[in-house]
Symmetry: C2
């Protein structure tokens, strides 16, 4: 979960499924979901309804000797729980800080703080995890023994998500130093940039 | 859709939402979903129930002058429709071929064909798209005019998914040539490897 920037949240409303890509953060065994204060699906979850939260990292293509054994390498997690809308000022502000810290540790102190308007326009739904499953596929293809002599190239093509060089906007004076949290050495191994998305030097 | 290797499929079963990462291919306005022949959620969709299919490409971090205007750049699509299980031999084989061609054009001819067992162990569900929505965020942050002088670094950190150098398995003789579809120049611009995931030189 921590290695993913975005999760996919599933909702069931009147028998119709919805899947919405959503920014998330984590507070222990509670997942925090972030959205607009008027987002219908998020408010549905916030009213105590069940949600399913999925994250998937695609790590590579797996080329086997038979079509059937082709696959992908991946790490996925699926979490289940019911949502509750955060309404207390302190718990909501704490959640917003967690989102900021997850995205870029230290950024919170470098920018203009939240206004009351911005605070009110944001909804945070907390989902206490009731149940969860994880699946991982890694490594080389698993061919049938009788296929091992089949004459074709077999192996794995690794995939990863990378960050590229930061691009400043036109209002940033050229002499403005790049913040430390955008430099490679500040990213810790638990950071999503290193766990799921490896930052390029 | 074509630029994504994996989609997230949402199901609503007895009021409970499920989100399952799934390989997909496309046949015109029909999305093909691939899974195990015994996958409960996929068979639920195959029985004519509604699904929601989401793909999301994360393209970058957006650092603004206010916490509130921080965002990510992304491209997402959400599709709605009802599933039907492919049961005809020809339509199912055609779908499997489309999956293979989407993953790696030309691979189908280089490997041992499907056995009856493999064919029977795979379920394909076709979803005719009834409704769809797409969202894109790109470019620099949108700060409030009064924030433009705030002294901090502001801009975008682009993200992309890349393929790395292929790794052969231990049973591939060292002299085996790398197939053309694993070399950079063979990937066409419409290919997911170029649209969503750019292959590194």
């Amino acid at each position: 979960m921590d290695a993913a920037l975005v999760c996919h949240v599933g909702y069931a409303i009147d028998g119709q499924p919805y899947v919405i890509p959503t920014l998330h953060a984590r507070d222990g065994d509670t997942i925090l979901l972030h959205g607009h204060a008027k987002a219908r699906t998020l408010l549905h979850a916030g009213a105590g309804n069940p949600v399913c939260i999925a994250v998937t990292h695609v790590d590579g293509l797996v080329l086997a000797r038979s079509i059937f054994n082709h696959s992908i390498n991946y790490r996925s997690a699926t979490l289940y729980g019911a949502g509750r809308l955060l309404t207390g000022r302190d718990e909501k502000m704490d959640a917003l800080f967690r989102f900021s810290e997850k995205l870029l540790p230290g950024r919170w102190d470098d920018v203009r703080p939240l206004t009351e308007q911005g605070f009110a326009a944001t909804a945070i739904v907390a989902v206490d995890i009731d149940d969860a499953a994880a699946k991982i596929r890694e490594g080389m293809p698993k061919d049938e023994p009788e296929d091992l002599g089949f004459p074709t190239w077999v192996g794995v093509v690794p995939m990863r998500q990378v960050l590229e060089a930061p691009l400043a906007d036109e209002h940033t004076p050229p002499a403005t130093p790049l913040p430390g949290y955008l430099a490679v050495p500040t990213a810790s191994p638990g950071d999503w940039r290193w766990a799921g998305a490896t930052q390029e030097a």
